[in-house]
């Protein structure tokens, strides 16, 4: 699908130091198609006015363009109402909003809050800190050896009847896809509120509330789905959102402000204090249109081919440890690798010299990396605009890296100072 698609992304044409860009850091952020950039420019050059404020024509145009994106998101994820779609500045803010607004008022001392070992810091730290503030019990669902959720651990945590369980749809480190609908159904049975972090998941397949099952909150970002940075979505069940207090207070989110008390605007505006990233939201709308044109099912099946190819080829690269399952149906095209004797940062610099952009480090998942005893890995993450040629370039570069970094370690003994004085 992608030879035509690639032409929509001007940045993919870049040549760096004579090497064609091979962008494999899509799990960090995706590239943007020209249509998305054009939509944000169009707002600034032809529409620029604040939303929900003015009685003049321009402001109404901006408001309509902004609010129409809410409807697009509602249909994209199959929500029941636009009132359930809250614009934030990203997944991190969406989750913080739930932890602060819902968590602060519903969690008491001794309650259980559960997360999984594979969470990104954005879906780990807000819950850890909420538990700490409230004197609640913080539980981590541990993983199997191939880094999927351990069914025994799920049973153990279910028995604790957590008040909140926060889980990612898809791991940003291992590409593991979690069985959210069955998990959500089981946790609902014990009365948990289920929070799903779809920051990664939203870009790899058809993510709808119906398919995710009886979840309560869903968080994701625009920038991993070809949209602008600085825009995110929080979806929540209307009944829960209605009962929650505001997250931030100020402009736009009020209906009446008196000298000594105020009343809140209705959903979703109650949670949208201040002027939003209007251009970003409009750009996100263009990104949603773009993704719909490509087709999410088509994207998913194309990406599965890349996953299959990379998994197959990695088997032929000796010395490479791939984190996570080796079967295509359990994972998305996100591959964290560790090569024996080669530090992830050295590997990333080597790959960068070939024009390949990958992420090296802990991928904002310290709790997982510490458990694995790995300080860092190198992660290649693909999108629907990557092609097989790029997958092959990545595999070949991994093979070449082992020749490049071949070394024999022979530490020398520690010696004493030999009386030298004076600066060099």
């Amino acid at each position: 699908m992608n030879e035509i698609v690639r032409k929509d992304f001007p940045n993919l044409e870049r040549v760096i130091d004579g090497k064609k860009l091979c962008y494999l850091d899509n799990a960090s952020t995706s590239q943007r198609p020209k249509k998305v950039v054009d939509a944000t420019i169009k707002y600034y050059t032809q529409m620029n006015a604040n939303v929900h404020r003015g009685v003049y024509h321009l402001s109404q145009e901006a408001t309509d363009a902004f609010e129409s994106v809410r409807g697009k998101i509602e249909r994209f994820i199959g929500a029941s109402s636009e009132r359930e779609i809250i614009f934030t500045k990203g997944t991190t803010e969406s989750i913080n909003l739930i932890a602060s607004s819902y968590g602060e008022h519903h969690i008491n001392k001794g309650d259980v809050i559960a997360v999984t070992r594979m969470e990104h810091h954005a879906n780990f730290v807000p819950w850890q800190q909420l538990a700490k503030r409230k004197g609640a019990r913080f539980e981590i669902i541990e993983l199997t050896s191939d880094l999927r959720l351990d069914p025994k651990e799920v049973d153990r945590v279910l028995a604790l009847r957590p008040k909140i369980v926060a889980v990612s749809l898809l791991s940003n480190v291992t590409g593991v896809v979690n069985p959210i609908s069955s998990l959500a159904a089981r946790f609902k049975m014990v009365g948990s509120v289920v929070v799903v972090d779809a920051a990664q998941g939203i870009a790899h397949g058809e993510v709808t509330i119906e398919r995710l099952g009886p979840i309560d909150f869903l968080a994701f970002s625009s920038h991993k789905l070809c949209g602008p940075t600085g825009v995110g979505i929080l979806w929540g069940r209307e009944a829960l959102l209605e009962k929650m207090p505001p997250y931030q207070v100020g402009g736009n989110m009020i209906s009446h402000v008196g000298d000594f008390d105020s009343e809140w605007n209705e959903l979703p505006h109650k949670f949208e204090a201040g002027t939003p990233d209007i251009a970003g939201v409009i750009g996100f709308g263009a990104a949603i249109d773009y993704i719909e044109t490509q087709g999410r099912v088509r994207i998913e099946s194309y990406e599965a081919k890349i996953t299959e190819y990379v998994l197959d080829e990695l088997k032929n690269v000796p010395g490479v440890r791939l984190l996570g399952p080796a079967e295509v149906h359990h994972r998305a095209p996100i591959f964290s690798v560790a090569i024996e004797g080669v530090h992830a940062h050295d590997l990333a610099t080597f790959l960068d010299m070939q024009g390949i952009s990958v992420r090296a480090g802990h991928h904002c998942a310290h709790p997982l990396m510490m458990k694995l005893g790995l300080p860092a890995t190198c992660r290649a993450s693909f999108s629907f605009y990557n092609n097989m040629e790029e997958a092959a370039i990545f595999i070949q570069a991994l093979k070449d890296s082992q020749v490049f970094f071949a070394r024999k370690v022979k530490p020398t003994p520690i010696t004493q100072a030999q009386g030298k004085r004076g600066i060099v």
Binding site: M369, L374, P375, F405, P413, T415, A417, K420, G422
Partner: protein, 148 residues
């Protein structure tokens, strides 16, 4: 293409055969350095003689840890350089190296770009801006050890 072609023989040699790698007996101070972004971790040990005198001297300096080639090679070179110098001189050298790696030219107290000192091999890392902090980790850790 090999590592040596890109990073040079000197860096490769320090990475493969890190000098002063390990623990020293009865160190005056052991300081931990950690770079959370890449996971590099070093422990730098120093044995300071005449610690109470006007001119404390670094008798031994060693390091241990895990990290990328640049981090480890830089730590190795540093331990060689500071030994036998006064605490004050070492702190000056650390500051000079920090300035050099962050882009300053002709920093006094450092080998010149054309010198044959091993340290010069690290200057080349400046063309990989994200890796500069790798080269600096052991040095900032030693500074903490000497400041304390």
């Amino acid at each position: 293409m090999s590592y040596r072609d890109v990073f040079g023989e000197i860096l490769a040699d320090h990475y493969e055969s890190p000098r002063n790698f390990g623990k020293i007996d009865h160190p005056t101070k052991v300081e931990q350095g950690y770079n959370p972004l890449c996971g590099d971790q070093v422990a730098v040990s120093v044995l300071v003689k005449d610690a109470e005198s006007a001119c404390p001297m670094i008798d031994q300096c060693s390091f241990e840890g895990e990290g990328c080639s640049i981090c480890l090679a830089s730590a190795s070179m540093m331990t060689e350089l500071v030994k036998g110098h006064s605490r004050e001189e070492a702190l000056q050298l650390i500051e000079a190296f920090r300035q050099k790696m962050q882009g300053a030219e002709n920093v006094p107290g450092l080998p010149s770009d054309t010198s044959e000192e091993d340290l010069v091999a690290l200057y080349g890392i400046r063309r990989f801006p994200v890796r500069i902090k790798c080269a600096l980790l052991a040095w900032t850790t030693l500074k903490k050890a000497l400041d304390a």
